[in-house]
């Protein structure tokens, strides 16, 4: 009953199956379109970190990798926080 009252006042569920589906869908399709096998992206990220680390000292905790879709085209956005040059 409590839940129904809550739903009644909030009118719509915020975390419905809809948003879950959308997120899963996006992720799945990105991999599908690139024909990307599982784990492939992770090994790329590791290698990228290794390469950048040869030139810079990195703040590894804030390193970010993001696979994005725009108009059925995917782009990989990598974000490295550089602390200092290694040379």
């Amino acid at each position: 009953m409590q839940l129904r009252i809550f739903e009644w006042f909030s009118q719509t569920k915020q975390d419905g199956a809809r948003s879950t589906a959308k997120d899963r869908m996006r992720n799945m399709l990105t991999h599908d379109r690139l024909e990307l096998p599982a784990g492939r992206l992770e090994s790329l990220e590791e290698e990228l970190v290794a390469v950048v680390s040869r030139y810079f000292e990195l703040d590894k905790d804030t390193t970010q990798f993001d696979l994005q879709q725009y108009e059925r085209r995917a782009s990989l956005i990598a974000n490295f926080r550089l602390l200092r040059s290694k040379c």
Partner: protein, 271 residues
């Protein structure tokens, strides 16, 4: 005359591809255009049943391709619409009975006879699909708002894009749409699906029990007035012909205070 060859495809089976083919065909023919419906689901033909023409089928597409009959002999005229004909698939053969070149030649011939040639593709992405697409210049991709169907539609769109030189345009029909579920955040919305697939929308067809009734009768809903799904298909036909028709308002109106109170005390009443 040179008509337009449009392939109707989905990837996933069971999303209403054949129903859509029948209804779009009937809607186009009702609007005055001459239409040939081609069933390419060789071995699993069903379009004849949806059209209520299964008892009139004498020759089929494979008979035409293998030159056992003339094209005109194999075309089955619709019971109500004289400008609508069906070219049935063979039921007792398999997909390898026709190849892409034969399909191209067939579409060329049909194009010279009809304003629209609608090709109902089989499910899947294998040879059957490749053959169905072979003669087409446009495509309609059918999907439902379910994840598996959207994923397969995406695969099909990818394959259509790879045929850029032949397929000039492809648009999406979102079938079995349930506005109440979307409003309750239980199902992906039209915009969600379009955003994910980045594809042009041709139409949205609401989930409708009348579809089952019409299948049993062998009379596609787009030929009947006062049926929501039928109206949706007629709008799709208008958009195919180049008319600007707004997408049907499927939003469920905000329930009144009164009905919300009723539903609060009696959950079985849907608002």
């Amino acid at each position: 005359m040179s008509g337009r060859v449009i392939v109707i495809t989905s990837g996933k089976g069971g999303v209403g591809k054949t129903t859509a083919s029948a209804n779009i065909g009937v809607a186009l023919a009702t609007s005055g255009a001459s239409v040939a419906l081609v069933d390419m689901d060789i071995g699993l033909r069903n379009l004849d049943i949806l059209m209520g023409l299964e008892n009139r089928v004498v020759y089929n597409l494979v008979d035409v391709v293998e030159e056992r009959c003339k094209l005109r002999q194999a075309l089955v005229k619709d019971k109500k619409l004289p400008n609508l004909s069906l070219l049935p698939a063979a039921q007792t053969r398999d997909k390898s009975a026709v190849d892409a070149d034969q399909m191209k030649a067939l579409c060329e011939e049909l194009k010279s006879m009809y304003d629209f040639v609608l090709v109902d593709s089989p499910a899947g992405i294998e040879q059957g699909f490749q053959n169905a697409v072979a003669g087409a210049e446009e495509a309609i991709v059918i999907t439902t708002p379910e994840m598996s169907a959207v994923r397969d539609a995406d695969r099909i769109i990818g394959l259509l894009e790879a045929r850029k030189d032949e397929i000039k345009e492809y648009r999406l029909v979102l079938n079995r749409y349930r506005p109440t579920m979307v409003q309750n955040n239980d199902m992906m919305s039209v915009d969600d699906v379009l955003e994910i697939l980045s594809v042009k929308l041709l139409g949205v067809v609401p989930e409708d029990e009348e579809i089952i009734v019409s299948t049993n009768k062998g009379e596609p809903v787009s030929g009947t007035d006062n049926v929501r799904s039928g109206l949706a298909y007629r709008n799709i036909a208008k958009r195919i012909r180049g008319e600007e028709v707004p997408i049907m308002d499927l939003e469920v109106k905000n329930p009144s205070w009164m009905s919300r109170i009723v539903s609060f005390f009696n959950p079985t009443v849907r608002v």
